[in-house]
Structure formats: C-alpha cells, structure tokens
Symmetry: C2
Subunit: 205 residues, 2 copies
C-alpha cells in the first residue's frame, strides 16, 4: 500500500501543493518584502521551478493572497492559550506581555511581512479584502484578551474593541520596529513594560 507516500485524496493533492507553494511564498516575502520578492525567488525557496506557480495560481497576487489567508489561521489563536491558562488578572497581564515579546523573538520576519502587506493594501486594491479580514480577526483575538482581563479584574473595558486593537497593535509595532531596526537599547523589554502599563489603563474605574 506504500502507506506514507500518497495517502492524500486526489482532490486534496492540489490543495497540498498550493499550500506548499504559499508557504514558500510567505518565507520569501518575509525575507525580502513585497517589493523585492519575485516568483522565481519564491520558487527557488520551494521544491518546484518557477513555472509551476501559474499551474496552481492565476497570478502572483492570488498566490500572495492565498498565503496571507493561510497565515491568518496560524495567528488567530496565538493568545488564546495564555487567556485560558491565567487565573488572575495579574497572571494574564504578565503572560500576555511575555507572549507578545516571544512572538517578535520567534517570528519577526512573518510580522514585518504582515505590516508590509497591510501597507500595500492601501495601494493595491486586490489585497484589501484579505488584509481587512485578517485585521478584523486580529482585533477579535485581542478583544478576547482584553475582555477576559477585565473580567478577571472585576471591571469593564474602558474602550471598544477597535480602539483596544489599535492601541496594542501600535505598541507591538513599535516593539517590532525597535527589534529589527535596532534604534533602542532593549526594545523587547520596553514592549513588555509598556504592555503591562497600558493594559490596566484600558479598564474603567
């Protein structure tokens, strides 16, 4: 039966290839950025040749959008673990701040790509829908953290979901910039401190 080689259903194989290509695309985009990542470079970082892209995708943008949507799935539950594991407001605060720092340490290229693509969406119409969906999903993810934090603290959030996301995303982005561009002494320590200072301010008193 050659169990491990071709176990996937024939219809799924197409999708497996698409995912493999998209993964290479994300890796390359995270390394070079949207402006400089070519299809040939993306294919070089995969096990295929450059022509195969147009067998699985209509054009470059469809590949990127597909990859961006994949990326969302891995992002969406990143902080749900710390929410579930924390029994007090202080615990949640520390764990959340720590998780944000770890995210930058472990996946900086992926996140600079995200900010790159979000900026590109302001110029490139075709990216808007996918980027907008992800941004809303991230907002919901952050909102789950904030509401749970408020609940544990016995208080109400002082701002709406959209504002809370903007606030924390802004701080996170500054941390990423500092980490990658190296203009601060200890950008990730700053990020940790700032999250611990700002999140409590978002509770009504």
């Amino acid at each position: 039966m050659a169990a491990t080689t071709t176990r996937v259903a024939p219809a799924d194989k197409h999708d497996v290839r698409r995912r493999a290509l998209a993964e290479s695309a994300l890796r390359t985009l995270g390394e070079l950025g949207y402006a400089k990542a070519s299809l040939r470079e993306i294919a070089n970082n995969s096990e295929f040749s450059h022509g195969v892209v147009h067998y699985y995708f209509a054009d470059k943008l469809e590949l990127i959008v597909f990859g961006v949507r994949m990326y969302k799935e891995t992002c969406v539950t990143r902080y749900d673990g710390v929410v579930a594991a924390s029994g007090t407001a202080a615990e949640l605060l520390d764990a959340f701040a720590e998780k944000l720092v770890e995210t930058i340490e472990d996946e900086a290229p992926m996140h600079r790509l995200w900010y790159d693509l979000r900026a590109q969406s302001m110029f490139e119409e075709s990216l808007r829908e996918a980027v907008g969906q992800i941004d809303r999903t991230l907002e919901e993810m952050i909102w789950r953290v904030v509401t749970r934090y408020a609940e544990l603290a016995g208080a109400e959030p002082a701002v709406a979901a959209h504002a809370a996301y903007g606030v924390l995303d802004g701080i996170f982005q500054q941390g990423l910039l500092g980490h990658l561009n190296g203009d601060a002494a200890d950008p990730l320590g700053d990020l940790r401190r700032e999250v611990r200072a700002v999140l409590p301010l978002m509770l009504r008193r």
Copy 2:
C-alpha cells in the same frame, strides 16, 4: 535685473532642483507606493526627464531618503498649533482629535506612504536611519501634546513617551486603513471618538 527669474544664489539652485525632484517623488510614491513607483514615473510627474535624477542624486534610494527627510520637516509641527491654541484640557482633546481626522482627510496618500516606507525600512537597511529619525521626531511631537494635555488637566502622564506614541500611532493607523480601505462605516468618526476616549486614560489617577 529680471528680478523674479533667477534670484536664487547659484549654490542654492542645486538644492532647489533636488527639492523639486523629491517633491515629485513623494507625490508619485504616495500615489503608487514604494513597490511600483519607478524613476520614469517620478520624472513624468515633474518638469524634468527621467535621466536628470542621476544628475542630482546618486541613486533611487538617495532620492527617496532625501524626500522622506523633507517630509519630516512638514510633519513635525503639525499639532503644535492646537497645543498653543488650547486653554483647557477638554479644548486640547477636541482640537487634537479633530486635527488627526483632518490630517487623514487632507493628506491620506502622504501618510500611507509613510507607513509603507516604515515597513520597507524593516527590509531595506538604507532606509532605517531616516525612518528612525522621523519616528523619533513624531514621538516627540506626540509627547508635547500629551504632556501639555496632562498639564492642563493637572495630572501626570501615566505612560512614557514611547508608549504614548505607539498607542496614538496605532489608533491613527487604524483610522487611515479604515478611510482608505473602506471596511468601516465611519472610520474618521471612530478615530475621533477613540482619541477622545483614549487620551484621558493616559493620565495618572
């Protein structure tokens, strides 16, 4: 004497041309984004031909960096007027929120370019110094608003300058995204409300 035609000192003329070119570059970049703005397109939006760029600049990046530095000068004092004109904390809060909204209404292309370039700086080493300088300058600008607001309210800021900038920049960025990508019903109204809700939270109580 032909008073108006060639009044500039010969040494300055060179700089006047560089500024004219850089201005065209900023206009084009704001329209097309970093990834798609070519030197020929930039020159087309100016009164010169495409070859002249390399007479005044070593390469494309030097032109862009020069333009980005120019942009900073126009940005840096944008909110100082509302700081000077406001006599109470509530006045300052309203005027500042309103000014942020106006900024997006009047100069959206310029600001999507800023976020584009800041994202590019995470990939392109050559942009980092200029982008970092501007980011720090913007932080100082925001900090002047926050400290004056705290002063008028008779309180101390609850967060440091870096965090305050991250928070407000994040909210502003969400407003710009909503305005350009059109995923919300009234993004600028949301921005105004959010600023008025968040800024008071940044005071120590």
